[in-house]
Symmetry: D2
Subunit: 133 residues, 4 copies
């Protein structure tokens, strides 16, 4: 399964009054890595031409060490499972040798035209093939 | 155990290109409710006078329905457990009769003076008493 | 011209490592007040049925005093001018007697169907009437 | 005067329901470039050892073209003026040949120990020298 390493630096506006990155940002870091993995696979998670979209159905994060302004981190995202109608990612955020956090994100494949509630559909074969190449 | 209901409206900048609230925002909604619960208990989560702080050690969210601009939601936060050195919250986000999401947040009680890595310490009795009153 | 007073509390995730609200948030505070003014006028800035939208063409803010976690502020938004194809707002953010910031936002009225670049069009009369009632 | 070019890609969570980057993000893009300029000058805007800080006193942005998910932009920041107690930056955001936005940010140099209200002080010579090298 595909894995992707996304490097980024902690920005000022991501810190909070404690002087560390706010916990909500870790989910955005993980998503940045996911979308970079898609680009590296020749895909866009939000292709206007595509009939499907990938909203979240679950997300988790365990925090092991704080991050501070200007830290450089690697966000490693790995596709843990591609099911018929969903994808699960496992992520690790590291700063040098230190594991900062581990997390997961699960997205359903939905028919964009379905409105609310969304209708889950099979992930298109082209996407499966590129994500698993 | 204490429970608190926090009402808020979805803001424009919380939506993404799909037209729904970005998944990272649900964690901020849950945190808003947590801090409102603390205020309702006569406390501030970030009291400058206090020797302790409460960084996250874990957070999870399961998404059941999308939220859109100007939706009004209730974020119900409940203290699920107060352990010696940590607090776990269970949250439910509802829009009218619809359950939109459920989530959890766990925070450690740390000695603010400890720098990194943080040192977990016992939650002060005054805080335990007020949160469980 | 219409004026609207929007009250809100500073949230934890809006603060930065200096312990004050990050300057980018003031623009979101002003926008919240703008959208509340629209609602109070019987309108939504993002009505899916409407053929027009209102992207920003300019925004300014002057910062007079810092804001801290849990401060309660009033964001007063006033329509300074409704031109044929644009609206300009003047805002003041106050905490009690203290003026915290003043700012402006200007939005163009565009044809949603126009794609990029957007085409500016006349503000629909219904909107002008309700905003100036 | 120093100028710095900061490249970055538009992230998913920066877009709003219109499908374009929310206007508040442009200020964060400009700040990212400012802090990168400081790093390129051998400085950190938030050096824990430094007695001074640089809160905003003013910010402006004029928006010329929308930005969309996965666009790559260059944020060009230039120090327009270093006064005794403040610094003014001029920024241009470009995507390829297209000017997307222009903006300014002005920060005061304050004594970190001064609490609120902040006391403006002279910018340390070491900082002036490095920023103008």
């Amino acid at each position: 399964m595909r894995e992707f390493r996304h490097r980024r630096r902690v920005q000022f506006y991501e810190t909070d009054l404690v002087g560390i990155v706010h916990f909500s940002w870790y989910f955005r870091y993980m998503e940045e890595a996911e979308h970079a993995l898609w680009r590296a696979s020749g895909l866009s998670i939000a292709d206007p031409e595509s009939p499907v979209g990938f909203p979240r159905v679950a997300a988790t994060c365990d925090y092991q060490a704080p991050l501070r302004f200007e830290d450089e981190v690697d966000v490693v995202v790995r596709i843990e499972a591609i099911n018929k109608r969903s994808i699960k990612y496992a992520c690790t955020i590291v700063r040098g040798e230190t594991t900062v956090a581990t997390g997961t994100m699960t997205s359903a494949c939905i028919d964009k035209a379905s409105g609310a509630p969304f209708t889950a559909v099979a992930i298109p074969e082209d996407i499966v093939r590129k994500l698993t190449a």
